[in-house]
């Protein structure tokens, strides 16, 4: 589903990713772990097309297409989703309005018929019920005045209504207490299927107790320093990133 080959990328002219390789197949869950400053967030923004993040070498193929040539909204239309580390507050825009705009934009992109108000509400009701998301949060403005946990659950709700093929979770555990973490992880797990893939970016191992990965990669100095199974996460939890912090060759 996703093939990243020798990816080099800069942020504000500074090279952050220095030859990253990663291959993700449908049905798999990959975790990328790494110390602060290793390039984890750069990878997630680069894959979703944020301004200022520039690939200078290598390629990213998503379902065989050059992902980096697409606008952010086109990537979303193609099924790429980023759960933000810091979900953005949008004053003046009701959450329901935002969700409907997003769902219908993606449907339009895919050549599907847009949902009318009734169909949308019905679909949304079902998703909020599954995720235990309150109606009160739907009425509020996007992420405005939400607690840290509510913001992350809102990300999970967006993921549920957009049903992406590739979901990237950027530090989804940050700012969450253990109960909120469990709720968010459960809602992410509900979305797992043989047709989609997850890329979980995290500093700590604890999220991986709830979203169990098939593959774990250590990102250090802008490239994958080591890959392994889920046991690698536990090893990192015990030993820390000390072994990966030495100056880059």
């Amino acid at each position: 589903m996703l093939e990243i080959k020798n990816l080099r990328a800069t942020v504000d002219g500074k090279e952050i990713l220095k030859g990253l390789d990663l291959s993700i197949k449908a049905g798999e869950v990959h975790a990328i772990m790494g110390p602060n400053g290793s390039g984890k967030s750069t990878l997630s923004y680069l894959l979703t097309g944020r301004d200022g993040y520039e690939a200078v070498d290598g390629e990213v193929l998503y379902k065989g297409r050059d992902l980096l040539s697409l606008a952010p909204e086109e990537r979303a239309g193609e099924g790429v989703f980023l759960a933000f580390q810091y979900p953005v507050e949008i004053p003046g825009v009701p959450n329901t309005t935002f969700l409907k705009e997003a769902v219908n934009s993606v449907r339009r992109y895919r050549g599907e018929e847009e949902l009318d108000a009734m169909q949308f509400v019905k679909m949304l009701r079902q998703k909020t019920k599954e995720l235990g998301f309150s109606d009160e949060l739907l009425k509020r403005q996007v992420n405005v005045g939400y607690s840290g946990g509510e913001k992350k659950r809102n990300e999970a709700l967006q993921m549920a209504v957009l049903n992406p093929a590739l979901a990237i979770l950027d530090e989804t555990d940050s700012g969450l207490d253990i109960d909120a973490l469990r709720v968010v992880a459960e809602s992410v797990n509900q979305l797992r299927s043989p047709d989609n893939a997850l890329l979980v970016i995290t500093h700590y191992q604890r999220l991986l107790n709830y979203i169990v990965p098939d593959h774990v990669h250590v990102l250090a100095h802008g490239r994958i320093a080591r890959s392994g199974g889920k046991e690698l996460a536990l090893e990192l939890e015990q030993n820390g990133y000390a072994g990966y912090l030495g100056t880059a060759a």
Partner: protein, 459 residues
């Protein structure tokens, strides 16, 4: 000891100023006045003739305002003075229009007075069946039907007027407009809609409308003014509105200015509020080549309050000026102002907000806010809040911000599949919604949001 504080600041992104140094040439206006004066409303009243002549003389002395006039420092009428406008009432023939475009389709019961190029069109109006105690008249009938009110209201408005060139020009040439009078204690439940349509004529035309709104003690009304250009023909509208609110009276005064791009829209509103009276106004400016909304409010009775709000969206080379002057004359008065603007391309906007707290006007509340989104590097806002405070127990604040769209929010929306143009529109609408949602008239908010939606879609 009175505390005097004058705060001024200005945000300027592109310096661009043409100082005029020529002496005013007002002969065109004087010729127009001489040819029209025996046909203007009230021509049989000696005091009115004198008033018009004196106003023309005053105007001839100064001409149109220039950048050298402090209150016109950022709005240049040079291109207006270069244009040759013919009075709309001297242009023969009727514009063919068979239905009035309504701001709020489906709003029944609303009283509608329609003007086309400044001329009242009864065939496009419906303001019969007004409740008892409510008078709605075209301006030119006031002199005939209520000459004593006519004189009284002019006397009242002149008492507090200082010479303003645009008002003098209007007084000399005023020939149309509307008059709303509501008797003591009467509430007009349905809004009055004043629709001003402008359509191109072979020669550029001018309209000098004079409006009066007089609400006796305890009266209440909602007035919606809708200026709609049907094309981009050249025209010049210079309206003056005198508002007088008696004790406990409440006026909600809303306006949509959606003129064509050949239009100069100059509007001066001056209102006087007695004890516990309340004036609530909102102006949405979308059209016109150049527009200026000048609103001055005298809070003359204790407990009186005003809300002056507005929003504007400008693009191309449009220019929009919102100037407000609020005089707190007595203690316990309050005002609140919020203006929000969206400026694109090389368009330019001006916000001048003056709050004067007179000596002894203690316990005054005054708050003023100007927020602007600049969508291009060449867009410009000149914001000049001015607080003049001569009392020592007051609470006054002002703020002015200008910035680009929130790039983080834009990316967030796009990352959810919403195309960039639509994402920008969503953010712009959300930015303006705060100001528009303050409007109390039922059905008007969605109608204005629809107008904004059309503006945003029309790129």
């Amino acid at each position: 000891m009175p505390v005097t504080s004058v705060q001024r600041h200005k945000r300027k992104y592109v310096a661009q100023m043409n100082i005029q140094t020529t002496t005013p040439d007002t002969s065109r206006y004087q010729d127009e006045f001489l040819s029209l004066r025996d046909h203007l409303p009230g021509q049989d009243l000696p005091w009115m003739k004198d008033l018009r002549t004196a106003a023309m003389d005053a105007f001839a002395g100064t001409g149109l305002p220039t950048l050298r006039d402090e209150s016109w420092k950022y709005t240049n009428l040079h291109s207006l003075s270069a244009c040759n406008f013919k009075p709309a009432n001297s242009i023969a023939g009727q514009i063919s229009i068979d239905h009035a475009p309504r701001l709020m389709p489906g709003a029944s019961g609303c009283f509608l007075m329609t003007f086309v190029n400044g001329r009242l069109r009864l065939d496009l109006s419906s303001f019969e069946n007004l409740p008892a105690g409510v008078t709605l008249l075209p301006f030119e009938q006031l002199a005939d039907q209520h000459p004593e009110r006519f004189e009284q209201w002019f006397a009242n408005s002149l008492q507090r007027e200082i010479h303003q060139p645009m008002v003098s020009l209007n007084t000399a040439l005023m020939s149309t407009g509307y008059v709303l009078h509501i008797e003591k204690g009467v509430t007009l439940h349905e809004p009055v809609e004043i629709l001003n349509l402008s359509a191109a004529t072979p020669q550029a035309f001018s309209v000098h409308a004079r409006n009066f709104m007089v609400l006796e003690p305890g009266a209440q009304a909602t007035v919606i003014e809708h200026y709609q250009g049907l094309d981009d023909g050249e025209s010049f509208a210079n309206s003056v509105t005198n508002i007088s609110l008696g004790q406990d009276a409440l006026l909600r005064h809303y306006k949509l200015q959606n003129e064509g791009l050949g239009n100069y829209h100059l509007s001066t509103i001056s209102s006087q509020l007695e004890r516990n009276a309340s004036y609530d106004s909102f102006t949405l400016s979308l059209g016109a080549k150049l527009s200026r909304n000048e609103v001055s409010v005298r809070l003359a009775g204790e407990g009186s309050e005003c809300h002056l709000n507005g929003a504007y969206l400008m693009r191309g080379r449009q220019h929009c000026d919102n100037t407000t002057i609020i005089d707190h004359m007595v203690p316990h008065t309050s005002c609140r102002e919020t203006f929000k603007g969206v400026i694109d391309d090389q368009a330019r906007a001006v916000f001048q907000g003056r709050i004067v707290v007179h000596k002894d006007a203690q316990q005054t509340n005054g708050h003023q806010l100007s927020k602007v989104l600049l969508l291009s590097n060449e867009a410009e806002i000149d914001a000049k809040p001015e607080l003049e405070i001569y009392a020592d127990d007051v609470l006054c604040s002002h703020g002015a911000t200008a910035g680009d769209l929130d790039q983080e929010a834009l990316f967030y929306l796009r990352a959810r599949g919403i195309p960039e143009e639509r994402a920008r529109s969503i953010l712009i609408e959300a930015f303006l919604a705060e100001a528009i949602q303050a409007i109390a008239a039922e059905g008007l908010c969605p109608a204005l949001m629809t107008s904004i939606g059309h503006w945003l879609a029309d790129t």
